[in-house]
Every structure is written in structure tokens, then in C-alpha cells.
């Protein structure tokens, strides 16, 4: 099987495991979740009660297999049920409002942090023992700070004290109406700068340290020494010989660390009251809004799996060995 097909099969299995976990968790947990919800939200209609029972598997909603079939059918049609905290809004509509915010902010910031961190890692690995190594403990400190805590500190310093950045929200809700015009886009960019800086600052150190270590190991390889012995310029040796090879483990690490980075960024959204999936998740947790929590789990998992698949495609693009193996089959 070609490399990419094999990877797609693997992600399909992972997606199925996530779906199945999502199905069984509410059924395996103790207590009656539906009664808890009904007690908390007295204005829910009886139809919502039935829908919740079917979704969480309480009462007599039929055999487990037929429940599972219905559940898969709903997920395929992006039908995640009705939200209980914002009744009668559907969960899908809530997600559709928040996903673009998170996707743009977290996606852009993560890619910037990865690119910048990798570049700095290449330089630090090449100048091993130089200026960059003196900053290593500082970088490790940055890496160890929880995202949301750095967000709190930056918010206090740059927004509350110095008024450089706006305090919270995704855009200035008092003066600007959402839409495709510059007033709104400018306001949205203005409000996303500080969250983006937070993500870049906290995640850049991890990429940089990892790339530096791989780079140092790669620079000791014979082919690098040979390239230098041929009299190639340093730039060529570093970028086309060493860095290109060191990038492969880095990319694989990117795929695996993505879930962690995205989760951290979601918790950070809470600090900025950013109107993304993270804030929605917090609201779901505080109001024990189970349908919403389950849908968010699925959305985040699928986004991470898709990003992983994209990374695999990039690896095929970068690594001639994978392509050669394909051609030899």
C-alpha cells in the first residue's frame, strides 16, 4: 500500500476510535446525566428530553447497536443535537460561529511559531555553543509556562497597564458590525495580535530546542562533512544538506505535538474571552452542557487528525526516499 493510503487508513482508525469513545463515555459514566441537565435547565421542552436520552443512552432508547448506528448517522450529517444551555440553538450552529475564529488564530499562530522556531533552531544548531545556547535556560522557562498563564501576564502588562492592545473579545463589538469590510477585519486583527503573540512565544521554544538537537546530530553526519570538504558554501551546507534532513523528524514531531499545542491555545482563549472554540468549551464545562462538550471533542480531534494528514503529505513532498520507495513498488 502506498505511504499516503496507509496513513489515511491509520487516521481513519484513529477517527473511528475517537467516535466510539465519544459514544461510550456518556454510557459508561455513573449517574444520570439527563436528569442533571433537566434539573439545571427547567425551560427545556419534552422533545429535548427525548433527544438527550437518545444521545446519552439513558432510559430505553433501543439496543446499543441501533443507538450506535443512529449516532454514526447523526455525526456524518453533522447533526450534534440541540444545545441545552442556549436552547433551542443547535450545537452545529454554535460550532459554525466559533470554529472560524479559532482556526484562523490558532492555525496562523502555530504555523508562524513552527516556521520561526525551526529557523532559529537551525541557526542555534549550526552555531552550537554560541549566542543561542546561552539563552537555552530562558527558552526552557518559556516552554514550561502554561499558555494561559503567559496570556494573563501579557494581558496585565500590555493591555491593562500600557494600553497597547485591546483587553478582550474577538473584535470591538461596540463600534464595529461583523462583515467583510475593513473596519471589522482591522478590528479583528487588532484583537487577535496579543493572543497570537502568546501562542508564538510559548510554543516557539519547544520547536527551537527540538530542531537544535536534531540539527546538532545531523551536522555530525558524514555527508555534511563531505559537503564541507567539497568546499560548498556554509549556507548551502546548512540549508540544503543538514536542515533538509533534520526537518523530517521535526515535521513528524509537529504532527504529534499539534494536539498539545491546540489544546493549550484553546485554554488560552478563555483568558482573552476570544469568541472561539476554547471559550465555547469553557462555557460547556461550567454549564455541564454535555452535547456541546462531545461535539467540541470530535471537532478538535478531527481537526488535529486532518492537520496530521497534511503534515504527512508535506513529508512525502520533502523526502525523496519515501517517493523512491513508492516508485519501486
Amino acid at each position: 500500500m502506498p505511504f499516503i493510503l496507509r496513513r489515511i487508513a491509520f487516521y481513519a482508525v484513529a477517527a473511528w476510535v475517537a467516535l466510539t469513545l465519544n459514544f461510550f463515555i456518556p454510557r459508561a459514566m455513573p449517574g444520570n446525566a439527563v436528569q442533571g441537565i433537566m434539573a439545571k435547565f427547567p425551560d427545556l421542552q419534552p422533545s429535548a428530553y427525548k433527544a438527550l436520552e437518545a444521545m446519552l443512552g439513558v432510559g430505553h432508547p433501543g439496543s446499543l447497536i441501533s443507538q450506535y448506528g443512529n449516532y454514526l448517522d447523526d455525526v456524518v450529517h453533522l447533526n450534534f443535537g440541540t444545545d441545552v444551555a442556549n436552547y433551542p440553538a443547535s450545537v452545529s450552529s454554535l460550532l459554525a460561529q466559533t470554529i472560524p475564529w479559532t482556526l484562523v488564530l490558532v492555525g496562523t499562530a502555530t504555523v508562524i511559531a513552527f516556521a520561526l522556531g525551526t529557523l532559529l533552531g537551525i541557526l542555534a544548531g549550526w552555531r552550537h555553543g554560541g549566542w543561542a545556547d546561552r539563552w537555552l535556560p530562558g527558552l526552557m522557562f518559556l516552554q514550561a509556562i502554561p499558555y494561559f498563564f503567559l496570556a494573563l501576564v501579557l494581558l496585565e502588562l500590555l493591555a491593562v497597564k500600557l494600553h497597547i492592545f485591546p483587553l478582550a473579545q474577538g473584535y470591538n463589538g461596540q463600534d464595529v458590525v461583523p462583515g467583510w469590510h475593513w473596519d471589522f477585519i482591522g478590528s479583528a486583527i487588532d484583537h487577535s495580535l496579543l493572543p497570537a503573540i502568546t501562542i508564538v512565544l510559548t510554543s516557539i521554544a519547544g520547536w527551537m530546542l527540538q530542531m537544535r538537537n536534531v540539527m546538532i546530530t545531523t551536522l555530525g553526519e558524514d555527508y555534511v562533512v563531505a559537503a564541507q570538504a567539497k568546499g560548498l558554501s556554509n549556507r548551502r551546507v546548512v540549508y540544503t544538506y543538514a536542515a533538509r534532513n533534520a526537518l523530517l523528524p521535526q515535521l513528524q514531531g509537529f504532527g504529534l505535538a499539534l494536539g498539545f499545542v491546540v489544546s493549550g491555545a484553546l485554554v488560552m482563549e478563555i483568558v482573552f474571552s476570544y469568541p472561539g472554540v476554547g471559550l465555547l468549551l469553557l462555557n460547556a464545562v461550567t454549564s455541564t452542557d454535555y452535547p456541546l462538550m462531545q461535539a467540541i471533542f470530535l471537532v478538535i480531534t478531527f481537526a488535529v487528525l486532518l492537520a496530521n494528514l497534511a503534515v504527512d503529505l508535506v513529508i512525502v513532498l520533502f523526502d525523496p526516499r519515501v517517493r523512491a520507495r513508492e516508485a519501486a513498488r
Binding site: H128, M140, E156, N213, T217, V267, I270, L282
Partner: protein, 336 residues
């Protein structure tokens, strides 16, 4: 005892600093709760003690309801470290079990266990943790430990599996097998001892994961909010608007404590890495040979090359020594 001292001397500087920092936090965790000046939950009704700035009586000031932040911090470090270490031990044991079994049995078992490991590696753990803890009626310390260890093992299992695959094909394992040793004896006495540094690194990583995940979960409110951990401290600081009230002494200490513990663990881990891979070592670990700094990555210097360029002081001292007489010897070694 001298063995221990010897080991300590061979550790890279980074690991030493990390171990000392971590030691201080562990000390705080052990004796902290006994020496807290106040009950961390005691709400002092006095108006003057609401949001008091740090002073002699309250080293890190007070919260809005007059609770002593320093006492909360000491108790919080204990609870957070306790949780992280327990999760670290459980998850590491599971990862060793899965990793070694997978590599040692091979075949279908390996395929299934590897697939299982990799699937749980790509599914983002924090949303899953939130879902699991969200459904639990009691969100106490025990629930968090169970859920975190249940999701914390795949990374270690993957690394340990790769290492076991390598060691399994070494000659000494083949020799043990020829000698008729049982599988469990080979695993316990031949394979595991060769993976100690890897298991240690995986343990440190898991502790790091447990700290950051538990703090994030508590910050969202998925923890026992009546107990004091570094995460719940941050939760209360955020939900009672410490930031807007300008009470930096309330939300800075727990966050800095988390970051410092994390830094100590990362330093320790980098140290362990460098212990195994000399290339990664700091340039300052270069050894001095005949007055020249030789980096671990440099090729072994030729002796003639070294002696050709002695430092000035060494040359001066050398001129007094008896062997300096030989320097002027003409070819053939014949003394005039």
C-alpha cells in the same frame, strides 16, 4: 554513598541545576503544609486584609476574601507534585509494560499494540480529558489521577518499544536465550536495565505532562475546587478577577511556581539526554587538552598538532624541565 557522589559529579550542569530546583520544590511540598502560617482556606473577615499587598505578616499578600496566598502556595505545591508523581509512576509502568511487550512478542501483538499506542498519541488528550472529567460526578484528586494516567502512557510506550526492538537483536540477548533463560528473566534482567535512562526520561516527561494538564484542567474548573492546588489557585484568581483588581501577588506566584517546576524538569531531561548523547553537550563542557579546548564533536586531535602549539606559559615552564633538553636533539636522537 561515594558512588552517588561520583554520579553527581558526572552529571551535566543543566541536570544538576534542574535537580536542585526540583529538590527545593519537593522540600516545599514535604514540609510546606506543616509550616503554613495560616489555614489556606481561612477567610479573614477583616476589611484591611482583603487584597492586602505582600507584607511581613502575609508574605505574598491576601486574596479578595482575606486568605493567605503564601499558605495556599505551599499547600498547592504539595497537591500538584503529589498528583504529578503518582501519575508519572502509573503511566511509566504502563508504558514500559506496553512498549516492552509489544517489541518482545512481535508479530500480530506488536501490530495491534503499536496501532493502539499511535492512535492514542494522535488523539488530542486535553479535550478527551475534559470530556471524561466533565461526565464524572466527583472531580476529586483520585479521578484526575486515574484519567491522566490513562492517557499519559502512549509517548513513553512508543519510545520504549523502539529501544527494545534495538536491544532485542543484540548478542547478549541472543546469548541469554541460547542459555535457556525464560522470557520474563530476559526482559527483567537483560532488557530493562539497558533502558533505565530512557525510562527515567519518559518518567520526567510524564510528570511534566501531568502538571501542565492538571493545572489546565483545574483552570477550566474541572477539579475539586475546594482543595488547594496550583491549578485551583489560578482558577480562583481568574474567576475572582485578580487581574482586573491589579492583584499581581495573587495570580503570579502559582503560575511562576508551575513554570519553575516545569523548567526544572526540562533541564533535568536535557541533562539526561546529554548524558546519553555527548554531541548535544554545551560548548562549555569542552575538555582542555594541552591548553586547547576540544569540543566533544571535534575529531580526536593528533598529538603532534597539539604539541606544536603549546601555550606561552606552558612553553616557558617547559623550558625549565629536563625534557626540554631533548627538544634540540637533531634527527637520530644523538646527543652532541
Amino acid at each position: 554513598m561515594s558512588d552517588l557522589a561520583n554520579y553527581w559529579r558526572r552529571l551535566p550542569n543543566k541536570a544538576r541545576i534542574g535537580a536542585i530546583m526540583l529538590g527545593l520544590f519537593i522540600l516545599a511540598a514535604i514540609i510546606g503544609p506543616q509550616v503554613t502560617p495560616y489555614d489556606p482556606s481561612y477567610q479573614n473577615p477583616s476589611q484591611a486584609l482583603s487584597l492586602a499587598t505582600p507584607s511581613g505578616a502575609h508574605l505574598l499578600g491576601t486574596t479578595q476574601s482575606g486568605q493567605d496566598v503564601f499558605s495556599q502556595l505551599l499547600v498547592g505545591i504539595r497537591l500538584t507534585l503529589e498528583l504529578a508523581v503518582i501519575v508519572g509512576v502509573i503511566a511509566t509502568v504502563v508504558s514500559v509494560l506496553v512498549g516492552v511487550t509489544s517489541a518482545f512478542l512481535g508479530g500480530v501483538w506488536d501490530e495491534v499494540l503499536s496501532l493502539f499506542t499511535n492512535v492514542f498519541l494522535v488523539i488530542p488528550s486535553l479535550p478527551l480529558l475534559i470530556l471524561l472529567l466533565g461526565y464524572l460526578p466527583q472531580k476529586g484528586q483520585l479521578a484526575t489521577i486515574v484519567v491522566l494516567s490513562g492517557l499519559g502512557w502512549p509517548w513513553g510506550a512508543r519510545v520504549i518499544r523502539a529501544q527494545t526492538l534495538m536491544i532485542r537483536n543484540r548478542d547478549f540477548v541472543a546469548a541469554s536465550r541460547e542459555a535457556g533463560e525464560k522470557s520474563w528473566r530476559i526482559i527483567l534482567f537483560d532488557i530493562i536495565p539497558n533502558e533505565v535512562s530512557l525510562i527515567a526520561a519518559s518518567f520526567v516527561n510524564t510528570v511534566l505532562y501531568a502538571i501542565s494538564a492538571s493545572v489546565a484542567l483545574a483552570f477550566i474548573g474541572l477539579a475539586d475546587l475546594n482543595s488547594w492546588s496550583l491549578g485551583t489557585m489560578l482558577y480562583w484568581a481568574q474567576s475572582q478577577q485578580a487581574l482586573q483588581l491589579g492583584a499581581w501577588w495573587w495570580f503570579l506566584p502559582p503560575g511562576i511556581a508551575v513554570a519553575l517546576i516545569g523548567t526544572a524538569l526540562v533541564l533535568l531531561n536535557t541533562g539526561i539526554d546529554e548524558f546519553g548523547n555527548p554531541r548535544l553537550r554545551d560548548a562549555r563542557t569542552a575538555t582542555k587538552i594541552a591548553g586547547r579546548r576540544i569540543q566533544p564533536t571535534d575529531p580526536t586531535p593528533v598529538l603532534a598538532d597539539l604539541s606544536a602549539r603549546p601555550s606561552r606559559l606552558a612553553a616557558f615552564a617547559h623550558s625549565f624541565s629536563r625534557s626540554s633538553l631533548l627538544d634540540e636533539t637533531p634527527a637520530g636522537g644523538e646527543i652532541r
